[in-house]
């Protein structure tokens, strides 16, 4: 009951004031009881009248005392704060139908949530800016005059060079086979099969890995019109997670000047981990997956991956404010 009006209210004094009201009520009741009972049975009329008047006076004085006490206490209680936290919407808190539509408390929750969200978003953006994901060879903030008009050389590589690098990597492992397609221009699309475990579709942009999708061995990798399906995700959660890990790895391990170094170094490390994917090694198979973040120890000159941003705050839908009873006096 005190969430809308706060700060100025002294709850203790409030309680005392309420008991003061009770006391006042009972003394008033006693006055009327005395009047109702009338004269008591005594020896003489005078005595009875005197007794009656005496009692009546006493009761009235008790009422007076209690009223003064109540006035004193109510002075201590204080006024509710005049400045509503949300200006006119604070007037919503005065709505007596609080149980059915707890508008004001929900409004406050939404406001607090959006403040938290803004704070977290600020933190996230500062963290993300530390790890730049721009995979271009140009320096940031190059002046207009020095901005190169020539395309970086690593993007324009002759197709047969790309083919050579890919076939060299494909020969590294006996159960790793790579098929190369060029369905859309000069960008290579690789269908990598790893044993009988998985098949991955890797879309390249000269020697840079652009995107990858990992699917199970027995899934359909071709779209209905016969072409290699580049977009449909795997239907199994395991391979969806592996796709996410692989995408993180390819965004993280990047050397814009020397893309083939990444391929030569990262692939031999990733392959044995992926090969042992179905069997798992730890006792909690169902939760843990091979962690590609461990690759960072093999590529020491690349910065370690960013730490997790703090988890997002609760949404207003998730926290359901319990309806508060208004105090009825």
């Amino acid at each position: 009951m005190a969430d809308a009006v706060n700060v100025g209210v002294n709850l203790d004094a409030f309680n005392h004031a309420i008991s003061g009201v009770h006391a006042l009520r009972s003394s008033v009741t006693r006055v009327f009881e005395c009047l109702r009972d009338g004269l008591k049975n005594r020896e003489s009329l005078e005595r009875r009248e005197k007794q009656f008047v005496h009692e009546f006076q006493e009761h009235l004085q008790a009422v007076n005392r209690d009223l003064n006490e109540l006035e004193r206490l109510s002075g201590l209680v204080g006024r509710p704060s005049e400045s509503h936290p949300l200006h006119n919407s604070g007037l919503l808190s005065l709505d007596p139908v609080q149980d059915k539509t707890p508008l004001y408390s929900q409004l406050l929750q939404a406001y607090k949530w959006s403040n938290k969200l803004q704070f977290h978003a600020g933190l996230a953006s500062s963290l993300l800016n530390q790890q730049s994901l721009k995979r271009s060879a140009n320096q940031m903030g190059a002046s207009a005059k020095r901005r190169p008009k020539v395309q970086p050389s690593t993007l324009v590589l002759p197709p047969h060079y790309v083919d050579d690098v890919i076939s060299r990597i494909g020969r590294m492992f006996p159960d790793l086979s790579i098929e190369l397609f060029r369905p859309n221009g000069t960008s290579a699309v690789l269908l990598v099969s790893l044993g009988k475990v998985l098949k991955a579709v890797v879309v390249m942009r000269s020697l840079f890995i652009d995107r990858t999708i990992v699917r199970g061995f027995n899934e359909n990798h071709y779209s209905p019109d016969g072409k290699l399906d580049l977009w449909t995700k795997s239907q199994y959660q395991v391979f969806q997670k592996v796709t996410d890990h692989a995408t993180t790895a390819l965004l993280h391990y990047q050397l814009p000047q020397m893309p083939d170094v990444v391929l030569h170094k990262a692939v031999p490390v990733a392959v044995p981990t992926l090969r042992s994917l179905p069997s798992g090694r730890t006792s909690s198979h169902l939760e843990r997956l091979p962690d590609t973040r461990g690759l960072s120890r093999h590529l020491p000159h690349v910065a370690p991956p960013p730490t997790h941003v703090a988890p997002p705050p609760e949404t207003p839908a998730a926290c359901s404010p319990a309806p508060r009873d208004t105090c009825r006096m």
Partner: protein
Amino acid sequence: MGVTCVCQVPVAEGKSVQQTVDLLHKKLEQLGAVKQQGNFCVDCETYHATATASGQSSKLLYVMHNSETPLSSDANFDVLMVKLKSHFQNAKGHKVECRGSKYRYSDFSIKVGTVTMNSSARGISVEVEYCPCVVPGDCWNLMKEFMQSFLGSNVPELPSVFTVKPEGLFAPSDCIDTMTQYLELFNKLRKLQMPGGSNIRV
């Protein structure tokens, strides 16, 4: 279409078949599995070869239907068997059926069924399938651990269908292996209830 393991769950002490099945359902739901729509049904009918003049011992033909692979439950298949009546005769009274509900838990698919023969419940079967993998040798440990989480100590050993293949554990598995496992289970349950001599050979 992944690696499947069919195993039998013994009925709990002092409980009926239906109660044990309900207990399994509750355990699965506590684990977080989601119940799928509809029921599954696997049944098996036996046919003997009628004796021919050559005097060879009668061979048995099993026709199995599985509601999950509709091709085998094509109604015309049964009609085909009727047409072959001159060579094979239906051994009535030996039809075994397994019906139950399906659950899905991320990449696992679990089917808990009651095995009935002549409308009397004989036992409980549990089929666990790990869909992403096709090679039993790679994922057997994972499946065993998953089954332990809701079957407790009743976890079976590696099914023999996988070990008797020429390439051993690393050959891809398919639906025939699943049906073979069901067949073995049905035969085991049939034998349990008919200890007296019967001429049904496995």
